[in-house]
């Protein structure tokens, strides 16, 4: 089985703060890899490196065997790595649907100067994705007005609209009310499975991890402390001490 | 055609922006002249009324307003304008609108050299004589200088006037070296660097055709740092700043005022007309009249003369516009200087008065001494010829050929 994304010996630090050091990780086809770890361990930084937002001081990242080191987030996104953010990145002055359609148009490379955005053929799909993450009810609200939880979900929907091969999610459901998040994740991961989208998600909720991840990587102070199947990793006393607690 | 209710004069002038140092005096003079005229029963018994347009409001507003006055307010004559740019802009418009347009203050010699107009007339001199006169004065009075530097505003007037002056200088005194050409931006507030440079190079002559606040600032900063003691200054427009500059303008500076008008004009200062004009104007504004005021007076004089002439030609009948325009051609009239004539290219021939500053009893600002009055005709190319080309045909002998009447300041 070939590694889809493969990071080798990544290192980066910010004025003394080590955010990554000797980080090596492979993400395989159809993986649903969970990344856990204490705050400030370097999880988001890892995603930033994989998407070309940060350039590591050492190490390499390949996607489908091609090095993506030094490629721009734009280029990497086009290759098929989509990302949802820890702090939602939305077009706040536009409605949720407009947000989605911009993503869809970009994905389908639709830039005919005079066809209205609202009439692009991808609209159906976009609306479907909004349903998937349970945001169809706010589709005509300006993103700035959304409650935190919805923002997170719309952010994921935007990434999905790009029909990625790999979907990176940074704490997808933090801030999503616990009453809903499992239903949403069920449908979401379900959809990913059937569309064979590989996913990597940073998570602090261990229940989420054990439910949806087939592999777990544990970050700590810029290192990968351990990785493996949820069952093993979540039992690991070391992990319990540094991440989960009692 | 029978007499109208009134003669409606539209005047474009600067009431905002830096050039309002000319515009407002011009406006005041216009109001004053109109009042006098109407007290005296108006032009041929018809009172005049004025409407003004602010040139400071920008070119488009100017033309829109100009049209409005002509087409909707149907004024009988327009006086436009102070800015040469605006004159160039308005002249063709006036021509098409068949509106009698008097270029009452703008200086560029190009207008009548580059196009023929029927409806446009200039009732005062233009840049060519206004630059040749100070040069001739310089050459006649202090002929032995070797170096010259110029500090002019960075816009058309500053550049054109220098082109005229320097071209002529090359012809009339080829051996002179130009050691500095500075064109600080229009409205510049600081000339320290230029002044340092001039102090370092010490040119024999320093020319500046700047005006208004720019000129005042330059003179003050120069005087403050003793630049006047090293170099002979030639300031062809400084007549309009004399009163403001007061003691900051030392003696011995060569002064011009774009024509032969001056509140102490040696030939007319004892005459009642000039005295009344000056007295009235001072009463009204608190200042001595400066050249825009005189230019306005010339425009009015020309208009009056034109009506008289036209009515006479029309044996007593009130002239229509065409007749009035016909009358303008070859018109002879007089403001508060020597008599003027409009020549065939619609450009007036006006004498030029140049002198040297001197501080005297009774004035807390320098007056003009060692005056020379040049006959305008000598300093202009024949009608239709291009000034620069004509100047290039001149040579040293020109300095002697052109004669001037000399006067001293006397109480």
């Amino acid at each position: 089985m070939t590694a889809l994304i493969s990071a080798k010996d990544l290192a980066i630090s910010f004025g003394g703060v080590i955010a990554a050091e000797g980080v090596s990780l492979d993400v395989f086809e159809d993986d649903h890899l969970a990344i856990i770890g204490p705050n400030g361990a370097g999880k988001t930084t890892f995603l930033n490196i994989c998407t070309g937002y940060l350039k590591p001081s050492a190490g390499s990242v390949t996607f489908q065997g091609r090095s993506i080191l030094g490629s721009s987030p734009r280029a990497i996104t086009r290759m098929g790595i989509a990302r949802a953010f820890q702090i939602p990145q939305l077009f706040t002055e536009q409605t949720v649907l407009e947000n989605m359609l911009i993503a869809a148009a970009s994905q389908a490379r639709r830039f005919a100067p005079f066809t209205p955005l609202m009439q692009i053929p991808e609209r159906k799909e976009a609306e479907h994705i909004l349903e998937l993450v349970g945001c169809d009810d706010v589709s005509d609200r300006p993103a700035s007005e959304l409650p935190e939880g919805k923002r997170k979900l719309v952010d994921i929907a935007l990434a999905l609209a790009l029909k990625p091969k790999v979907l990176l999610m940074d704490e997808p459901t933090s801030g999503v009310a616990s009453s809903e998040k499992f239903d949403i994740m069920d449908t979401l991961i379900g959809a990913l499975r059937e569309q064979q989208v590989t996913s990597v998600f940073v998570e602090h909720d261990m229940e989420m991890v054990s439910r949806y991840a087939n592999r777990v990587a544990v970050w700590n102070a810029g290192h990968i402390q351990s990785q493996g199947t949820p069952e093993d990793v979540l039992q690991d006393p070391e992990v319990v001490r540094t991440v989960i607690g009692v | 055609q029978d007499k109208p209710e009134e003669i409606n004069i539209g005047i474009t002038t600067f009431t905002s922006g830096p050039a309002s140092v000319f515009g407002v005096p011009g406006q005041e003079a216009a109001r004053m002249l109109a009042e006098n005229l109407n007290e005296a029963g108006g032009i041929q018994g018809v009172p005049v009324s004025l409407s003004f347009i602010d040139e400071g409001a920008g070119a488009e507003t100017l033309t829109t307003e100009y049209r409005r006055l002509v087409q909707d307010e149907n004024v009988d004559v327009m006086f436009a304008s102070i800015s040469s740019g605006n004159c160039i802009n308005i002249a063709p418009l006036a021509e098409d609108l068949e509106m009698l347009n008097i270029l009452w203050d703008c200086g560029t010699q190009r207008i009548f050299e580059e196009a023929d107009y029927r409806y446009n007339f200039r009732t005062q001199a233009n840049a060519t004589p206004e630059m040749l006169a100070p040069l001739l004065y310089l050459l006649k009075n202090n002929p032995d200088f070797e170096t010259i530097a110029v500090v002019n505003q960075d816009y058309a007037w500053g550049r054109d006037s220098w082109e005229l002056f320097s071209t002529a200088l090359k012809q009339l005194k080829p051996d002179v070296e130009v050691v500095g050409e500075f064109f600080p931006s229009f409205g510049a507030s600081d000339y320290s660097a230029e002044i340092s440079r001039l102090l370092a190079t010490q040119p024999d002559v320093i020319l500046s055709t700047s005006w208004g606040g720019d000129l005042d600032t330059f003179v003050r900063q120069a005087n403050q740092r003793g630049l006047f003691s090293n170099s002979q200054f030639v300031l062809p427009l400084v007549e309009s700043s004399l009163e403001r500059l007061g003691s900051d303008l030392p003696d011995g500076v060569i002064v011009g005022g774009r024509g032969d008008h001056y509140f102490l004009h040696p030939e007319y200062k004892d005459g009642e007309e000039l005295q009344d004009f000056v007295a009235q104007y001072r009463e009204r504004t608190g200042d001595y009249p400066i050249y825009p005021a005189f230019h306005m007076a010339q425009a009015f004089a020309a208009l009056e003369a034109a009506y008289d002439k036209a009515i006479e030609a029309n044996d007593g009948g009130w002239p229509d516009r065409e007749q009035l325009v016909d009358a303008m051609a070859g018109l002879e009239y007089r403001g508060h200087g020597r008599p003027l004539t409009i020549r065939e290219d619609n450009q007036a021939i006006e004498a030029q008065l140049i002198g040297t500053t001197k501080h005297v009893e009774g004035y807390d600002f320098p007056i003009i001494d060692n005056m020379m009055i040049f006959d305008g005709a000598d300093l202009m190319p024949p009608a239709g010829e291009n000034s620069i080309e004509w100047i290039e045909t001149l040579d040293e002998s020109f300095v002697e050929e052109v004669s001037a009447d000399e006067y001293q300041h006397e109480e």
């Binding site: - | 515009g23 931006s185 660097a193 340092s196 208004g212 740092r225």
Partner: protein, 301 residues
């Protein structure tokens, strides 16, 4: 000779630069900190100059020693900055802080027109002068060239004083921190007990006062006349941008660069003089897109 020229270039550069800094620093503060494109800044410069000149002329009218002019300048500046600036903030700007930022541009532009006109109505169109403070300090001769002490010594000193004063104020004082906080996030600031309105009010007044102080200090060196404000607007914006948002130190360096650039242009390439500020801005921004001392904004993701 060439050495002399060099010295002169530097001196003139410093003299002019100081003046530019004094005018631009207020804008750098108001724009950089409050993000208000205050086009009316130029008017405050002009008003300050007019006020100073008028007061000065009153002095000389009553034959009072021109030494009093220097404190009077400050009085004039504060009077203008606080009264006009205060009214402007309180009754107009305050109503639009929360609106589309560019509305502020519109408002200040309108106010600029109004003030410009008011100046003409109050002071007429003839240039004003009040040069005593300049003559009073006399000249100093450097490498054989006379300079006015006012321009080559006094103004640079004042500029330095303002520079370090402001930096200290913004960095070390509570008020400074408040300003910075309110600018970054008005609501969060309110939520920790900061009176955002008051802070904006004070900041704006400081800015306008500095502008009119610039005008007051400039008045002895130049003609005070209609339209003098307009020139300064662009120059100030150029400085503010070159400096980097709200960078007082940057403003000082930018102003100095502009001063030196201008004087060297006059000495070596007069034709360039007019465009110097823009060239400098372009060059700086080409290499430092956020301005000389501009900070790259906080991480977003």
């Amino acid at each position: 000779m060439s050495l002399q020229i060099l010295v002169l270039t530097v001196l003139d550069g410093i003299a002019y630069g100081s003046l530019v800094f004094l005018v631009a620093v207020g804008l750098t503060l108001v724009f950089g900190v409050m993000r208000i494109l205050n086009v009316a800044h130029g008017s405050f410069y002009a008003l300050g100059a007019y006020a100073a000149a008028s007061l000065g002329l009153v002095l000389s009218a009553y034959g009072i020693s021109a030494w009093f002019a220097y404190p009077l300048f400050i009085v004039a500046a504060v009077a203008v900055g606080v009264s006009v600036g205060g009214l402007m903030e309180r009754f107009i700007l305050r109503r639009i802080y929360v609106r589309e930022e560019y509305l502020q541009l519109l408002v200040t532009f309108a106010i600029f027109m109004i003030l410009d006109n008011v100046q003409r109505l109050v002071w007429g169109v003839q240039p004003y002068f009040y040069t005593e403070p300049l003559s009073l300090m006399g000249n100093v001769t450097i490498v054989g060239i006379p300079y006015t002490a006012y321009q080559v010594i006094f103004l640079p000193l004042v500029a330095l004083f303002i520079l370090f004063g402001l930096r200290w104020f913004l960095r070390k004082t509570l008020a400074g921190s408040l300003i910075v906080a309110v600018t970054e996030d008005r609501e969060a600031a309110t939520a920790i007990g900061i009176n955002a309105r008051k802070v904006f009010f004070l900041t704006f007044i400081i800015g306008t006062t500095l502008a009119s102080l610039g005008g007051a200090l400039a008045s002895p060196t130049t003609s005070v006349l209609p339209g003098m404000g307009a020139e300064m607007i662009v120059l100030s914006f150029a400085v503010a941008a070159t400096a980097g948002l709200g960078q007082i130190g940057g403003a000082a360096i930018a102003a100095l660069l502009i001063g030196l650039g201008r004087s060297s242009a006059v000495f070596f390439m007069p034709e360039l003089e007019v465009v110097v500020p823009y060239l400098i801005m372009v060059i700086v921004l080409l290499f430092r897109p956020e301005g000389l001392f501009g900070k790259t904004t906080a991480r977003k993701i």
